[in-house]
Amino acid sequence: MSFSFFTLFYKEIVQFFRNRGLLLFAVYAFTLDIYLASTGIDLTLKNAPFYAEDYDLSYSSRELLSRFPLPYFQFKGYLLSDRDVERVLLKDEAVGVIRIPFKFEKNLKRGDKTEIALIVNGAEVSSSYLFSAYATQIIYNFITGNFFRPPIKVVPRVYFNQNCSSKLFMAYSELMTVITLFLLLLPAAAVVLEKERGNIEMLTISPLPNIVFMVAKSVAMGLIVLSFSAFALFFTIERVVSVPFKGSELDFLFLTLLYVFTASGLSMFIASLSENMLQVSQLTILILIPILYLSGNWTPIEAMPKLLQWLSVLSPLKYYIDGALAIAIKGVPLKELTSDIVALTLQGGALFALGNYFMVRRI
């Protein structure tokens, strides 16, 4: 008895494209969502409002304040008392306040010790952190430029992303998050729909082995996600967001293909445990969040507690992000990514086989 795989695939793909809500969501996620994430979320300091409390009002103090330029900083004016400082910080009118003491210029010129206070609004964690780092750098440059020369000069060079633009990182990171989400969601949703409508029973009674059906389904869904990824890569990222892609797109898609197997295997676990769409969405979120956390996509793995660092070995997204970012941002060729490929293949093969097996057992 022979079954046509073409017919099996055709059905899944047609059903996906006829499901308007899901299709719309996919199109949104692979275009607008990536665009918004990469252009809207900026990890650099932009137009940070700040005040000065200048007790010196000398040439040097004004010169120093003029070194805080747009578009990073935005000078809002002078404050006259500590109470005003508290007021602007409390009302979130400023990220920080720079306080310059009496006799600032005089002490500097004399070579005496003097202090500049940076009062930062800790409620806005990342911008205040950046504010104090930038401000420290500016003050240091001002002093070394005008008053004395230190014996060491630090010369930074940025490779791969010369402007340190977060757009580049955000675009790829969001693409991979979206890919993960759809890989977890689509196959599980497709299977559970069959469960809900009772089609799965018909298939179980038919001579078509359940495993063939499940594999056809996850492969079809994987292909859909793969083509959407290709579209997002060539269109959304390269054209619309227009960030550079250093390596070979084919390498990137090959790695994505490996990842498809891993994630759709997980999706089958979700499907086997769920009876309806609500449960699928709940389980998807439950699995997606740890995968994202442990992948190093949001925080570097090195910054995590030891236990989580060990667990991060389990997140398939980790290997995918490692490899895919290396290809996209650094232009590393595939053959130098063997360890990621091996890890993804092993994990993918195991999860895909287990997920489908588990699914078939549970019917």
């Binding site: 029973e201 009674i205 038919s206 078509l208």
Partner: protein
Amino acid sequence: MRPVECENLRITYRKGKTVAVDGLSFTVDSGDIYIFIGPDGAGKSSTFKAVCGVLRYDSGRLLTFGVDPNDDRAFEPVKEKISFMPQGLGQNLYKKLSVEENVDFFADLYGVNRKERERRKELLLKTTGLWEFRDRPAGKLSGGMMQKLSLCCILIHKPELLVLDEPTTGVDPVSRREIWRLLYSFNREGQTVLLSTSYMDEAERGTELLLMKSGKSIVSGSYDEVVSTTSPVFVVKAKEIYKVYRELWKITNTPRLKGDIVRVVVPQNKLSDFKALQERLGFSAEPVDPDLEDLFVERVGLRRVELPPLFKPAVSVPEEAVVVDRVVKKFGNFTAVDGVSFRVKRGEIFGLLGPNGAGKTTLIKTILGLYRPTSGRILVAGKPVGRDVKKLIGYTSQKFSLYHDLTVFENLIYWGNVYGISQNTVRSIVFQVAPIFELNRFLNLLVSELPLGIKQRVALLSALLHSPPILFLDEPTSGVDPVERDVFWQVIRELSKEFGVTVLVTTHYMDEAEYCDRVLLMNRGKAVAVGAPRRLKEELRETLGNAYLIYTDSPFETEEFLKERGFKTALFGRKVKVYSKEPVTENLLRELGVPFRALKPSRITMEDVFVFRVLENV
């Protein structure tokens, strides 16, 4: 003021694209038991919702207690006089609350005072037999009990008009009779009942009826006035009944083959042809009183279906096609199938009859290997169900299991493929069969856009693509109108009688037993009776005697009176059905002092068999 007055009612959905009710007119008088009969999608539910002000109608004139339900503010006070029970088992109940808490909740909702509430609650729960279960959560009741509780809940505040959407669908015949009894006692206090059903045999139970199809009324009025055909109805008996049946099609489009008889309406101008045919074939034809189905088929007309031999199975199966031996299926503490045994012979149409929740579907799924039996032995085509047996089985499930987002043709290709049939073969089968099944204009439509009857045919066709020698059909005729149902049974009969296909079919329509060679009656997981429908009815006739209908103005008193005298009885609206071994004559009734208007002979139905078998077993 009349409870409902309606003229030229029109209700549409999807901005006028779907017409649910199309120019319907009817009037419900105070004290009526008004029955709407029609298949799914006829527009019964829409009409009821409009009457209760739940759904806006498009045009026409509709007054409920003299107020237009579309006028929300004016209608608000009227709502207190109405109780509406939506379609589905126990839809208005809170499944986690106990029986008593549910009733209390509804009483509080309508502001019934405490004393009155306790009095009515006890009365209602005791008449429905729910009193001893009053602490049980509603979700753990059987379908019939749930439906009775729903009724108690909406009766607690004494509404003037009761609107019930299919309260008896899928309910077991014993509970069904109890529900009707409750409605009659409610009606006896002067309240009005408006009720819908898809069972043709419930038509007789009301005072007025309206037969609906595709949003329009076919006939309306009281049963005895309405149910008459312009042409005479015959019951035909013959040795070679199938041959006679075929010939009859040449004269009229109304013959229905039921077991070993044919029921036919012969048009006046064809009576001579009928006589000639009778002489040529030598069958007996007995004129009978028309019933609602006769009326329906005379108005709408049936369609003859003849299958091409391509569905003849290539493989033959053993003489005992399906063997079920002491099968038990438990889910936790709940026993869904409790020691059922039967054998289906090759080429037989075997019916599993029973209400919702009787265990029919569980049993069929256990036979097919979807559930592992807790104990017992099952053989299909002589073997336990495995891959090679699966090829021999065709199956349609209750929900028809078609993909709603694929077209009819895509579905057929897909299901063909699942059975290893190539696209080209499916194409050629569809090409030959589509005109016979009247599917041509539906082939490229999405299944979600199809009417129920067409869905059923597509599902059947998809199960037949691989010409299986054994067919399992789970509730294939639910909610389908009599014409569609007849087409379906013609196909099944042809498959069984001409091609030797074995068919196992489940249904909750007791009257469909007529189409089966043998039936198994199921109730609460147990087999109640098994045998040929005619024999089962004959057996009951031997123990109970013949059935008669007594027309009376005081049915309750009449029934009580007869019961006291040792007769077995059942209530049918303003009629009492009585079973007696001694012939019941008008003289006998007069002697006994029973008040009556008329007396007619009636017949023993499959429902009677079910009710009496269940009650005897209890």
